[in-house]
Every structure is written in structure tokens, then in C-alpha cells.
Amino acid sequence: MIVAVHRPHSSPSSRGVAETAAAPQWRVVFLNDAVTRMSYAVMVLRKLFGFDEATATKHMLEAHEQGRSIVWVGLRESAEAYVFSLQQWHLSATLESDEKS
């Protein structure tokens, strides 16, 4: 079984310049659903990404209101592990190339 290794949260703003320039970046996009309890989604986002309560809540509300929220940007391998972990917690998520914007 694939297991996502918890890494310290790395926000887009904290990425190293060298990493940004060297490798393609991928987004982890958290998608809304109308069933899942909000506190559950916040707990999972905190657990998987190391967000504080306010950041996790912001992403949850963004997904709730806009249908999606970009919760992480970085290397493909790590992004895959995060999407897998979100799916394991039954939160819908997808991968996007950061070059789309």
C-alpha cells in the first residue's frame, strides 16, 4: 500500500528558488463535496498538510464556496502522495500542473 509520508508543510511561498526553477511544479487541488462534515475536512487537512486551524479552515471554506482549493504546490511525487492520502480519507482531490495558470 502507498503511504504518504508526512512532511513539514511547504507552502508555495516557502519553496526554494532552486527547486522552483529546476523541476515542474504540481498542484494538489482539494475538491468540495456536499456530504462530508466540515470539521472532518479541517481535521484531515491539518493532519495531512500540517496546517494550523485557520489555514485548514480557509481551504475548507474556499472549496465549499468555490468548489476547489489549491492546498499544496510542489514536486509531482509528493503531490501524488498527498492526493492519495486525501482520497484515503475520502476527500476528493486531483493533481494539476502548476503551468496551467
Binding site: D33, Q88, S92
Partner: protein, 157 residues
């Protein structure tokens, strides 16, 4: 997390278990949340699908292990650090599956209103039991979330 024992109404919960079990059986071969990967990631999706199904099956098995002899004699289920998260995930998966199948024809706003009032409203008899399961699984989630983070559930209310 310390061990937490919760006393449930056997007469209210036991009649729901057969239906919950039948939905859990569906989750042995169907993901609660379909993968949302692009066509380019089809190979990845295929590999993940099997791993996610295995995880989902394990979680549902952990949920049903709560309903043992102690539950049927005393009405007690117990959570601890080993089973809290798997049971939490199982409840999430089962609620999603109930919503997508047995409750698929009930509009979102009706579900929200009935959840808020914890009543059956004007639901057809055929879906009342499914909705009772949906509410029960939500209550289990609330109990576990409350013990994982006492402030968390208040934000939902």
C-alpha cells in the same frame, strides 16, 4: 487519545446495522470517492484504486468490530488511538455511499434541513432507514472528532 466508551441505544442502533453492512459490502469493490485524476494518469488511478479499496475495506472492518458482544449486551462501543481514525474514515465513506445510492434522490437542501432537525420529515418510508443510518454515522463521527479535538465539532454546529 485515551480509551473512550460510548453507550448507544441498542434498540435504535442494532436495526440499522444490517443496512450499514450491506452498504459496506458495496464499498468492498467501489470507492466512496471516485478518483478525480486526469486521463493521463489512468495507470496511476488503476494502481491506486486497489490500494484505496483495501484501505476502505480495512476501515469498514474496524467499524464493524465495534459492534461486538459488549455492544449487544451493554450497548457500549469503545474508541482508542488505534481504531478512532479508521472508524472515522469508515463513517465518512459510508455516508458518502449512502448519499450516492439510497439517498441519491433526496435534494441537498432537504438533507441539510433534516440533518439540522434530526428528524425524518416527509421522507419516503423506503429511504427513512437509510437516512437514520446516515445520521447515526454522523453522530459517530461527531463523537470521535470531539475526542480528537474538543473544539472541532462546535465549529460545525
Amino acid at each position: 487519545m485515551k480509551r473512550v466508551e460510548v453507550r448507544l441505544s441498542i434498540t435504535a442502533v442494532a436495526p440499522l446495522l444490517d443496512l450499514i453492512k450491506s452498504v459496506a459490502d458495496e464499498l468492498r469493490v467501489n470507492l466512496a470517492v471516485p478518483l478525480a485524476l486526469s486521463d493521463a494518469d489512468a495507470e496511476l488511478a488503476s494502481v491506486w484504486n486497489e490500494d484505496l479499496l483495501a484501505s476502505q475495506r480495512d476501515d469498514c472492518d474496524r467499524l464493524f468490530s465495534l459492534f461486538d458482544q459488549e455492544f449487544f449486551s451493554e450497548g457500549v462501543v469503545a474508541f482508542d488511538r488505534d481504531n478512532a481514525e479508521p472508524v472515522l474514515r469508515a463513517c465518512a465513506a459510508l455516508r458518502l455511499r449512502f448519499r450516492a445510492t439510497h439517498l441519491a434522490k433526496v435534494p441537498d437542501d432537504t438533507i441539510e434541513a433534516l440533518e439540522a432537525s434530526s428528524t425524518m420529515g416527509d421522507l419516503a418510508e423506503t429511504v427513512q432507514k437509510a437516512f437514520a443510518c446516515f445520521l447515526f454515522l454522523d453522530e459517530l463521527q461527531k463523537i470521535i472528532l470531539k475526542y480528537l479535538d474538543p473544539m472541532a465539532v462546535e465549529d460545525d454546529e
